[in-house]
C-alpha cells in the first residue's frame, strides 16, 4: 500500500506586490512525515508558508497545492484552516482584549460547531497546557498581549495541539526559545502533531532538529529548494554553513 500523500506542492511561485519571492518550489509530504525547510533569512521560507496558509498579500501566481488530495488554492485562509492546515506564525499577532481561552473556544467552534469537542474544551485545554508547561493564568490573558517571545511560540503550539490539523507548518517556532523552552516545545510538537498528518518545520538552525528528527530536510536559497536530503543534511549545513552550500550550489547550476 502506498503511503497517503498529505501535502503536494508543485512548482509554486509566490509574488508580493508584484515581486517574485518564491520561484518554483515543489514538495511532497506523506502522512506521518516531518520535513524541515532550512535557509537563511530572506530566502522566502515565510513567504511560502504565508502563501500556503492563504495570506491575501502573498499571491501564488502559478503551481498547484493539494492538501490530502484536495485543491488548496481555491480556498480562503479560513477554509484552508478548516481543511486541516495550520500555520504556526513566525511573528504571532497580538489581539488585545481577547483571552486565549475565548479565542481557542471560538476557533474550535468554527470547526466543530457546538459539537462534542466544545464540551470537552476545558478538559483538553488543561491537558495541553500541562503538556506545554503553560500556567493556568495563560487562559485568561489576552492573545499574545505582553507575551515574551518564548510564550508566544508556546501559544502557537498550544493552538496547534487544540486544533489538531492534518498538516502543520511551524515557522521558526524554535527561535527566541532558551534550551529548556525548546525542549518543552519540541516535546509538545512530538506529542501533539497528528500521527497520520504531516509537519513542516521551518528553521534556520539545526538545534530543534536534535529533538525532532526530520524525515527530510530541504534547503531553500533565494526562493528555490536547492537541495534535499535526510536528517544528516541539517548537520552538514550546521558544520559548513550556508555560504559553503551556496557556492556549491551556484557551481552546480553554473551561475
Amino acid at each position: 500500500m502506498s503511503k497517503n500523500k498529505i501535502l503536494s506542492i508543485n512548482n509554486v511561485h509566490v509574488e508580493i506586490e508584484g515581486k517574485e519571492i518564491v520561484k518554483g518550489v515543489s514538495l511532497q509530504i506523506n502522512s506521518g512525515e516531518k520535513h524541515a525547510i532550512m535557509g537563511k533569512n530572506g530566502s522566502g521560507k515565510s513567504s511560502l508558508a504565508n502563501a500556503l496558509a492563504g495570506h491575501p498579500n502573498y499571491e501564488i501566481t502559478s503551481g498547484t497545492v493539494e492538501l490530502d488530495g484536495e485543491n488548496l488554492l481555491d480556498k480562503s485562509a479560513t477554509e484552508r484552516s478548516l481543511a486541516g492546515l495550520f500555520l504556526g506564525f513566525q511573528y504571532p499577532l497580538t489581539i488585545p482584549g481577547v483571552t486565549v481561552a475565548n479565542f481557542l473556544r471560538a476557533a474550535i467552534k468554527a470547526r466543530n460547531g457546538d459539537g462534542i469537542d466544545i464540551k470537552n474544551f476545558r478538559k483538553v485545554f488543561k491537558e495541553k497546557m500541562k503538556l506545554l508547561k503553560i500556567e493556568d493564568s495563560f487562559a485568561t490573558r489576552y492573545l499574545n498581549d505582553g507575551f515574551s517571545g518564548g510564550e508566544k511560540k508556546r501559544l502557537e503550539i498550544l493552538q496547534m495541539a487544540m486544533l489538531r490539523p492534518k498538516l502543520a507548518i511551524l515557522d521558526e517556532t524554535d527561535s527566541g526559545l532558551d534550551i529548556d523552552a525548546l525542549k518543552i516545545v519540541a516535546n509538545g510538537i512530538m506529542e501533539s502533531a497528528p500521527k497520520d498528518g504531516g509537519v513542516i518545520l521551518v528553521t534556520h538552525y539545526q538545534r530543534m532538529l536534535d529533538y525532532i528528527k526530520p524525515d527530510m530536510v530541504h534547503i531553500m536559497i533565494d526562493g528555490r529548494i536547492v537541495k534535499t536530503g535526510g536528517a544528516e543534511l541539517a548537520l552538514e549545513l550546521e558544520a559548513g554553513g550556508y555560504d559553503k552550500l551556496e557556492t556549491e550550489v551556484s557551481q552546480e547550476v553554473g551561475v
Partner: protein
C-alpha cells in the same frame, strides 16, 4: 444585507434591530397632547401632574431660557439646526395610572417590555425596575427589603410628590436650566425618569434599573433623573433604551443629576440602543463630595446623533471620578460622546477611558474637558482615547481640552486611532474563523475594558448588539 428602513438617508439598520426592538405598538393613549412647545403645553403638563407652585414656575422660567438660548455651536450643528421643535409631541401619557404589577399594564405595553426582556431581567438580578413608555413610567417595582432599609427608588414624579423636601433641596442644583438649550428644554417639559435616595451607610448590592421606551413617531422623551447617595452608601443604577424604526426623527433629551455625599459610591451604567432616527441629546452630571466615587459607564450603540458628555464635579477632597465610555457609529450615525471632569478640591483623581468604533461611514467623536482649578492641588487625571476604524469610509475625531490651573498636578493623556489590521484578521482566519467572525472578535476585544465592567447579563447583551451592528460589515 437586510435593509428595511424606508428612509435611505438614515442609512442601513440591521434587520435584527427592526425585528427585536424596532417594532411599534398601536397608540391607545390616555392622553396625547398636540405637537409643538409653548407656555400652554408647559402649564398643561404641570397641571396634569398636580405639581407644587415652585416646580410650575421652574418649568415656565426654563421654557423662556430654552426659547432665548442659542443652539450649541459644537457637535453636529447641521442636525441640531434642523430640529423642527414644532413637530414634536412633548407629552404623551400612555396609561392613567402607574402599576407595580405587570398584569395591570395594558397588554400591548406589557408585550413590548416582554419582548425587550425587561420583566425577565427584573426577576433574575435586579433590586428594582422602572419601565418608562413615552412620557410616563408605566410600571415600577422595588424590593421590599431595600424599602425597609430606607432606600427610595421611584419615578421622578412620584419622588417629587412623596419626598418634596429632598427633591427641592437637590433638583436642578447640579444642572440648572441655564446650563444648555437642551437642559432648559428638559427642565420645561420633563416627565418621568428616576428618583433614588440611599440613606447613610446603606449598600444597595443589587442594581436598580430603568428602561426607557419611545413608541410614537416624532416623540420627545424628556425624563429627569436625580440620584442621591447619602454618606457612606453605595448604589449601582442601570438604564437601557430602545425605540421603533421610523422615517422621521424623535428627540430624547434627558437630564441626569447624580450626587454622592461623603464616602459614597455611585455607578451609573447606560446601554443606549436607540433606533437610528433618535436624536439623543442628554446632559449628565455628578457631584462627588469628600472621599466619594462616581463612575459613569456609558455605552452608546444606537441613535442617529448622540451628544452626551457625562461629567463629574470633584468638589470634596480625595473624591474620585471615572468615566468609561464606548461609542459605536454605524452608517448614518454620529456619536459625539465624551467626558468632562472638573477638579475643584485637592487630592482628587479622575480617569477617562473612551473607546469608539466607526463602521461603514459612521462618525465617532470624542469631546472631552478636564479642568483642574487652582484649588485642586495634588490632583491627577488620566485620559485615554482609543478609536477603531473598521473601514476607510469611517471617521473618528478627538477634541480633548485640558485646563490646568493648579500646582502639582499629574495628567496623562493618550490618544490612538487604529484600523483593524489585515495581519490580525489573517492570524484569526488562519485558525478557522471567518473574516466577519475575526473582525467581530477584534472589536469585542477592543471594547473588553468596557464590557468587563458590566454585569454578566449586560455584557452578553452588549456583545450581541455589537455583533448585530458588525454583521455584513464588509461592503
Amino acid at each position: 444585507m437586510g435593509n428595511i428602513t424606508t428612509n435611505k438617508s438614515i442609512g442601513t439598520i440591521g434587520e435584527d434591530y427592526a425585528e427585536k426592538y424596532g417594532f411599534h405598538d398601536p397608540e391607545e393613549y390616555f392622553h396625547k397632547g398636540a405637537r409643538g412647545i409653548n407656555h400652554e403645553v408647559v402649564e398643561m403638563i404641570s397641571k396634569m401632574k398636580k405639581e407644587p407652585e415652585w416646580m410650575r414656575d421652574f418649568r415656565h422660567k426654563a421654557l423662556d431660557i430654552f426659547l432665548s438660548k442659542p443652539m450649541p455651536g459644537w457637535g453636529d450643528t447641521e442636525v441640531l439646526n434642523n430640529i423642527d421643535f414644532d413637530n414634536i409631541f412633548y407629552y404623551i401619557k400612555p396609561t392613567e395610572e402607574q402599576s407595580d404589577n405587570w398584569d395591570d399594564v395594558p397588554e400591548y405595553i406589557k408585550n413590548t417590555f416582554d419582548k425587550l426582556g425587561v420583566p425577565d431581567a427584573e426577576k433574575k438580578f435586579l433590586g428594582g425596575i422602572s419601565a418608562q413608555y413615552e412620557s410616563e413610567v408605566v410600571y415600577h417595582s422595588f424590593q421590599e427589603n431595600l424599602k425597609k432599609q430606607g432606600v427610595v427608588f421611584l419615578d421622578m414624579d412620584s419622588g417629587l410628590r412623596e419626598y418634596p423636601e429632598i427633591v427641592k433641596k437637590y433638583f436642578a442644583t447640579v444642572i440648572p436650566a441655564m446650563d444648555n438649550k437642551f437642559a432648559a428644554l428638559n427642565s420645561a417639559v420633563w416627565s418621568g425618569g428616576s428618583f433614588i435616595y440611599v440613606p447613610p451607610g446603606v449598600d444597595v448590592t443589587v442594581p436598580l434599573q430603568a428602561y426607557f421606551r419611545i413608541n410614537a413617531e416624532n416623540m420627545g422623551q424628556f425624563e429627569r433623573t436625580l440620584i442621591i447617595a447619602d454618606k457612606g452608601s453605595r448604589v449601582h443604577y442601570i438604564e437601557g433604551c430602545t425605540a421603533p424604526v421610523y422615517t422621521t426623527d424623535s428627540l430624547h433629551s434627558a437630564v441626569v443629576e447624580v450626587i454622592a455625599l461623603d464616602d459614597a459610591y455611585i455607578r451609573y451604567t447606560t446601554i443606549q440602543n436607540w433606533s437610528n432616527n433618535i436624536l439623543n441629546l442628554v446632559t449628565k452630571r455628578a457631584v462627588a463630595n469628600k472621599n466619594s466615587t462616581i463612575e459613569w459607564v456609558d455605552g452608546n450603540i444606537g441613535s442617529r446623533l448622540t451628544m452626551k458628555y457625562p461629567c463629574v464635579y470633584l468638589v470634596g477632597e480625595h473624591a474620585k471620578g471615572e468615566i468609561l465610555s464606548i461609542a459605536f457609529a454605524g452608517p448614518g450615525q454620529h456619536q459625539d460622546a465624551g467626558a468632562k471632569v472638573i477638579h475643584f478640591a485637592p487630592n482628587t483623581s479622575s480617569r477617562i477611558t473612551s473607546k469608539s468604533i466607526s463602521k461603514a461611514g459612521g462618525q465617532a467623536s470624542y469631546r472631552g474637558l478636564v479642568k483642574v482649578h487652582a484649588t485642586a492641588k495634588n490632583s491627577k487625571s488620566s485620559i485615554e482615547c482609543d478609536a477603531l476604524l473598521i473601514d476607510e469610509k469611517s471617521r473618528s475625531d478627538t477634541y480633548p481640552t485640558m485646563e490646568i490651573d493648579a500646582a502639582n498636578v499629574k495628567i496623562e493623556h493618550e490618544a490612538r486611532v487604529s484600523k483593524v489590521a489585515e495581519e490580525q484578521l489573517f492570524y484569526l482566519m488562519s485558525r478557522g474563523l471567518s473574516e466577519d467572525e475575526a473582525r467581530l472578535l477584534i472589536v469585542n476585544g477592543f471594547i473588553e475594558p468596557f464590557t468587563k465592567e458590566l454585569p454578566m447579563e449586560y455584557a452578553v447583551e452588549l456583545n450581541r448588539l455589537i455583533e448585530l451592528e458588525m454583521e455584513g460589515s464588509v461592503g
